[in-house]
Subunit: 492 residues, 2 copies
């Protein structure tokens, strides 16, 4: 391979990093744990964001923007939430730099510009938002509030990985306020469905919808719903969460409303979010040893056309024909790039667009033109075919749909083949060590057992699937009775 | 006035704040100098952002994302830039909170989690971006780099005002890298033109394109181009800037490229930005004592329809007719809201949408339905007319275009009527105190004179207009010879 990418078998983790860096999605930065999202990676994020944003608006949500900083006194108001995030907070303590008298040309923090109250850089915005909602909500007429925010957040993680776990990341966070618990729960589940629909039908990434155990719940939530995806190494990746927050934040920030009977009650809340982490999930769900494989529905470039020619005359003839193909594809809403740059050979370009995961590549030369055909290469299967230029635009439109479906089906088949049942501790440990994937097993429902399994086997309960059948059994560790299986896995 | 808004004459500054708060654009927050952008204000920002983003992409730019934090050692690398922003930097010094042993349930900054190097929350991103570009640029083939970023930035301003000057604000910042000074200058001017086009043709806000004096230049720039707008109190508001940065940042971060002859040279740079400040400009450029006046092209709601009825039967008949109007308007790409909520009277709704600056209001009752007409009210002129329902959709489409134009023409006439010439110091001071607006006057070209005028008259040189005619004259303060007039004003 001229691309110099590690294979999955050689070094899965290096393979992932190679795809991100060499696929031009992101770059390391000078700031510990923070990344630079490069134009190609950001274009991917824009496509994902636009689809999600449309879905949020279609379900009645509006965007807003709240401050980056959370005063410490607000941050600590909801105790569990504060406790959950305190250990990873970037804190602003000063508001000015000054010339360093000891080092000419250098700056130092001005000790006289110390803030009276420290500001936490938001790791999540429940606190600042519920403090704001207090001023917006008096009566049931002010409810529901259905607000989403696209923003950057900071969590000072000790071990970081591009996209998967970075100190700063981009995300959206929905924060809704409701008059009843039932309505808030409906919202929680609705947004989980929006996420699952997005993951499966746009990212082509099958997910399992479920509920987190108390141990794995969002700090400050009553219930955390999640979608879990399986990566090609069999590990789980939490791809999105939707939290039913009960009245916890309303109580912490004293947000009450008067109902139709003029009785005062605390407001019910939800929050839900997905982040640039999804890009990491996307990469690990589909790609191969030649590079990225991007689903057509969110790929920044859906079709690339590479001309093969000798001399100006051939080039001009190709330009004309390709021009009309490009026009036809664009008219069908397909994003297309004609790469006629003369500083690289066609073979180099083929490898480059393979690496970048462009779903369809067309190659066309002088003889193709004579024969009225074009070579069409699919990124997902690497099949190549010579296709007639008549009606090529519609052919490609259909092909893109087929690729989208194929990528999903392939990932779905992989997922199904890698969920195993374990009915004893030995079987469980053996499976974990020998077979990639999730394990469906009985658990006694206690946090103690869950902790112990995590300690012994480095596997966590990813979720209790929503469509779980009830079934009598015995906990794989404690042997105590259990009424349903849960999904275990090692996770990102 | 039921709306309880200060009039411009009573208290211009209070009028502005009332429009922002009561028009539901933004809210104060618990964080000093930071605001909450409410859904209606954010929808306006989204519309502005989308137009700009499209223009950036049409001119060959791509979006990317760089870290929020700038390590102090990078921040101080370009000395002038660092000096310019050092006094207003929020600084992260710690990365963890812990339980306060003296105050149960409270948190404190963990003194053991002090960063080795402090992180500046970006006030602008030249430093972190040029440090990144160093890794991206080796040869002329890597140039130009045409990148834009949509982001939040923080400048610790002592006196803040909603949208106009907030500690945190949203903006876009373009950062481009070029092989030649000439190319960078072309880019600088191109983006100024993009801003001017956006301000005039979308925000309906006439601007004057010009160059800043050395005193008013961006810290680290060789030349700052700007667009200046005139507010209704005659004060100037800098609405956008585009900087030619020369090789300053390339030198500070050692970014060199080899040209076609294999010679090494430093890269040439530009940066350019507009921010949520534009919303403040928009409000002050057009609104009146009844509320906001938003230009149709960026208004979140272009048309509102208010039904007037007694009883369910009338309501049903109206619903049907309005349904078809809504459908027809949407088909023309017009955003429309049918406000049939029953908790407020029509008169209240009229005032509410006036306050919110919705360009066109339709009111329709049972008798209108019989007569096949609808009452159409324009927000800009407050004219009302009864218009036939036949072809109402096209009528409204044309009306929106007329309103867009009228708002611009009105602001343009105001601007032209409020640029005065002063040929002596007395005339200058007298004009400043008695007539709102800009003053065109001769200046000797020295920073000393400029400083002195600022000190004596609280007016600054807003710009040297790009289309300035040359003309011999004498500086209004020093009496020294001058070859052109410049524009003075008091400014936001």
């Amino acid at each position: 391979m001229g691309k110099d990418i590690a294979t999955r078998e050689q070094d899965y983790s290096q393979w992932y990093n190679d795809l991100i860096i060499k696929g031009n999605l992101a770059d390391y930065s000078a700031v510990r744990g923070c990344m630079v999202i490069k134009p190609y990676g950001y274009a991917l994020w824009e496509n994902m964001r636009d689809v999600l944003d449309k879905k949020f608006k279609e379900t009645g949500h509006q965007n807003a923007y709240f401050p980056l900083f959370v005063p410490k006194s607000l941050f600590e108001a909801e105790e569990k939430n504060a406790e959950g995030f305190a250990k990873e907070c970037a804190v602003v303590t000063h508001y000015r730099l000054k010339s360093d008298p000891d080092k000419p040309g250098k700056l130092m923090v001005d000790p006289e510009a110390k803030l009276e109250e420290e500001l936490v850089v938001r790791p999540t915005s429940e606190a600042i938002i519920w403090n704001t909602y207090k001023g917006w909500i008096q009566s049931y007429r002010d409810l529901p509030i259905l607000v989403n925010q696209w923003a950057n957040v900071v969590r000072w993680e000790m071990r970081t990985r591009l996209f998967l776990r970075t100190a700063e990341f981009l995300w959206q966070e929905g924060h809704t306020a409701h008059a009843t618990a039932a309505e808030a729960l409906i919202e929680t589940k609705l947004m989980l469905d929006v996420y699952a629909d997005f993951a499966e039908n746009y990212m082509a990434m099958p997910v399992i919808k479920g509920i987190k155990t108390a141990n794995e719940r969002f700090a400050g939530a009553e219930e955390t719903y999640c979608i879990e995806a399986m990566m090609q190494d069999g590990k789980a990746l939490q791809a999105g969460t939707s939290h039913f927050l009960g009245q916890n934040f309303a109580k912490a920030f004293d947000v009450k409303f008067s109902d139709k009977e003029n009785k005062l009650d605390y407001v019910w809340a939800t929050s839900w979010g997905v982040s640039t982490r999804l890009i990491g999930a996307l990469v690990m769900a589909h790609s191969d040893d030649d590079g990225l494989i991007l689903p057509p529905k969110i790929a920044p470039i859906q079709v690339v056309i590479v001309p093969i020619f000798k001399g100006e005359e051939q080039k001009l003839a190709l330009d004309e024909k390709v021009g009309s193909i490009v026009k036809g594809l664009k008219a069908l809403g397909i994003s297309v790039k004609y790469d006629d740059s003369d500083n690289q050979r066609p073979g180099w370009k083929f490898a480059e667009y393979e690496l970048k995961g462009v779903p369809v590549r067309l190659a066309i030369g002088a003889r193709d033109l004579e024969n009225n055909v074009v070579e069409v290469a699919r990124r997902d299967t690497k099949e190549k075919q010579s296709i007639s230029l008549d009606g090529i635009e519609l052919y490609i439109k259909n092909l893109l749909e087929e690729i989208q479906l194929n990528i999903f089906n392939r990932a779905k088949a992989f997922q199904e083949a890698h969920i195993s049942k374990a009915d004893s501790w030995d079987e469980f440990v053996n499976l974990l060590d020998t077979k990639a994937g999730f394990i469906s097993a009985h658990w006694d429902g206690t946090s103690e057992t869950e902790d112990k399994i995590k300690e012994l086997a480095k596997a966590t309960i990813r979720c209790i699937p929503l469509d779980n059948p009830l079934e009598d059994g015995k906990c794989i560790l404690s042997g105590n009775p259990s009424t349903q299986r849960v999904l275990f896995a090692r996770a990102y």
